[in-house]
Amino acid sequence: MALAIPHQRVAKRGGLRRLARRKSTVAFALALPLIILIASLVVYPALYSLHLATLNKSMEHFVGLGNFEFLFKRDLFWMVVKQSCIFAISAVIFKALTGFVLAHFVHNIPTKKQRKWRGMLLIPWVIPPAMSTLAWFWLFDPSYSAFNWILNRFHLDNVNWLGEPGWARFSVILVNVWYGAPFFLIMYLAALKSVPEQLYEAAAIDGANWWQKIWYVTLPMMRNIISITVLFSLIVTFANFDIVRILTAGGPIDQTHIFATWAFKLGIEGNDIPLGACVSLFMFPILGVAAWFILRDISVRGNEA
């Protein structure tokens, strides 16, 4: 046995080098489908949309920044920018707040029962949004609205949920909060559970009230998860399509359009692909900011490890 080992090692040295060389080849081959997929169906289209945005409607001439100039002159474009920001920012704030509060409620009840409640509260996230938005559409319907029926019982006037710009904006945000809050709940509940109980005990001994416990213990401990979920959700909400498309299709009179739905209307329905590409490119800045934060985070982690 003792004799065999040095013998083997000599034989293996050449093999080891070959193995190392083969290892990176195999590794590359295993990752190749992923690289091809990302390069051809994500990176290339993303770059191609930059090119598309510089063409005229029939895609024959290069017009440079002509499409952007055209957009900047239209009031509707600035309305869409404003509405996208209102929609995304308020929806994310309310989703995060609802999720945070709900996570505390679930955390407060006995562990055995948490599963059941969490299970019920996650259902809005599980139903495909296109399907659940149909239910919301019917709940909001002007003549059959089940919400208005309740309002009438309390002798209040009918609300034109989807027909009046202000209420329509409220409605799309409400549906988005309903759909997205469960995700925050799950994330924040997991984060809450990882906060060591001793910290709260120590805070209690120091005489902290519940608000101080949240501000000085819970929030600092959850800082990472809060920033990640808010960042993710901001991207997803900015790029939202299903809810606005089904609920209002941008109406009334284009007042609830956000980038994605307007790009769809211009590019696919209106057949002006370059202009649509141009509009959807405005989702890039938020992506860039997010990418910067995430890359910074990854490199920080890399240095720690």
Partner: protein, 299 residues
């Protein structure tokens, strides 16, 4: 000092548990309110699906059904369009799951264990592509596909199977990312031992990594299935004729026709369309939630 502490403890414990109890009851109260709010749309779907058109049109009491009937279900299950949507959805989602797993498991294995030149950049890149929204890609993809058709004569637009090529862009980055996390948590000794015993890298993957990381693979599978089942934008852009549509786009584009709203049928269709993800969720909730949280906590 210790005497004081001993004395104080029983009194304090009593007050803490009383506070806790109060907090618990209030929590139940508010949880009940939120569950009511969260479950209103699905329950409303159920109520509407059991109503006849007459009862819906009457609109006397929208929140309850007085003459429940399964007519909507029978008529939908018998309708050829709806059967088509369901079959197309199932085929697209299942194939997407298979394609996703075939791409992301080997890739995650190679990125987490076998490092090659540029592999860490690629891992970060995978994560960034997960963040590129579909709403940014649908217009260029549409153009590229019609362009491919022009050059090769292969009709890509308006075929359900074209979604099998597109959906992996939604699922693969995230699945690869969470698989990297799961694979990285497997102790290195395991694969080193196998390599010393003369196993090849592929054997390490199939004999060790896939069995050990099975919970992660199940979570990723569920994610891939639910995402491809629920997607609405891509089918709306790439498929138009009734026999090529998948469920979400099919229900919205064919059942909602002008002013003739057959809302009983629409709600039934939506409910049936929501069933597969709901059933998966009901039976595999822990995997579902594991997949959901793994992406962010490991990112």
């Amino acid at each position: 000092m210790s005497a004081v502490a001993m004395e104080a403890r029983p009194a304090k414990r009593g007050s803490i548990s009383k506070d806790r109890k109060k907090a618990m009851y209030w929590s139940y109260f508010f949880l009940m309110l939120f569950v009511l709010f969260f479950l209103t749309p699905p329950l409303y779907m159920l109520i509407m699906s059991l109503k006849t058109s007459g009862e819906i049109a009457e609109a006397r009491f929208p929140w309850w059904v007085f003459h429940p009937t399964l007519d909507n279900y029978w008529s939908l299950l018998g309708s050829e369009n709806f059967q088509n949507f369901f079959i197309n959805s199932a085929l697209v989602s299942l194939s997407t799951v298979v394609v996703t797993m075939l791409i992301s498991i080997p890739a995650a294995f190679s990125l987490s264990r076998m490092k090659f030149w540029g592999s860490s950049t690629l891992a970060a890149g995978v994560f960034l592509t997960y963040l590129i929204p579909e709403t940014l890609l649908f217009i260029p993809l549409f153009k590229i596909f019609s362009w491919v058709t022009e050059f090769t004569g292969i009709e890509l637009v308006n075929h359900w199977w074209v979604l099998i090529f597109i959906y992996p862009t939604l699922t693969v980055p995230f699945c690869t990312w969470i698989m990297i996390g799961y694979f990285a948590s497997i102790p290195k000794e395991l694969d080193e031992a196998a390599l010393i015993d003369g196993a090849g890298w592929l054997q390490v993957l199939t004999r060790i990594f896939i069995p050990v990381a099975l919970p992660g693979i199940i979570a990723a599978t569920i994610f891939a299935f639910t995402v491809s089942w629920a997607d609405f934008l891509y089918p709306l852009v790439f498929t138009t004729s009734a026999d090529q549509l998948v469920l979400p786009a099919g229900i919205v584009t064919t059942l909602i026709k002008g002013d003739v709203f057959e809302w009983g049928r629409i709600m039934t269709a939506a409910l049936l369309g929501a069933m597969p993800p709901l059933l998966i969720y009901a039976f595999l909730m822990d995997y579902y939630i594991a997949g959901l949280t793994a992406g962010a906590t490991k990112g």
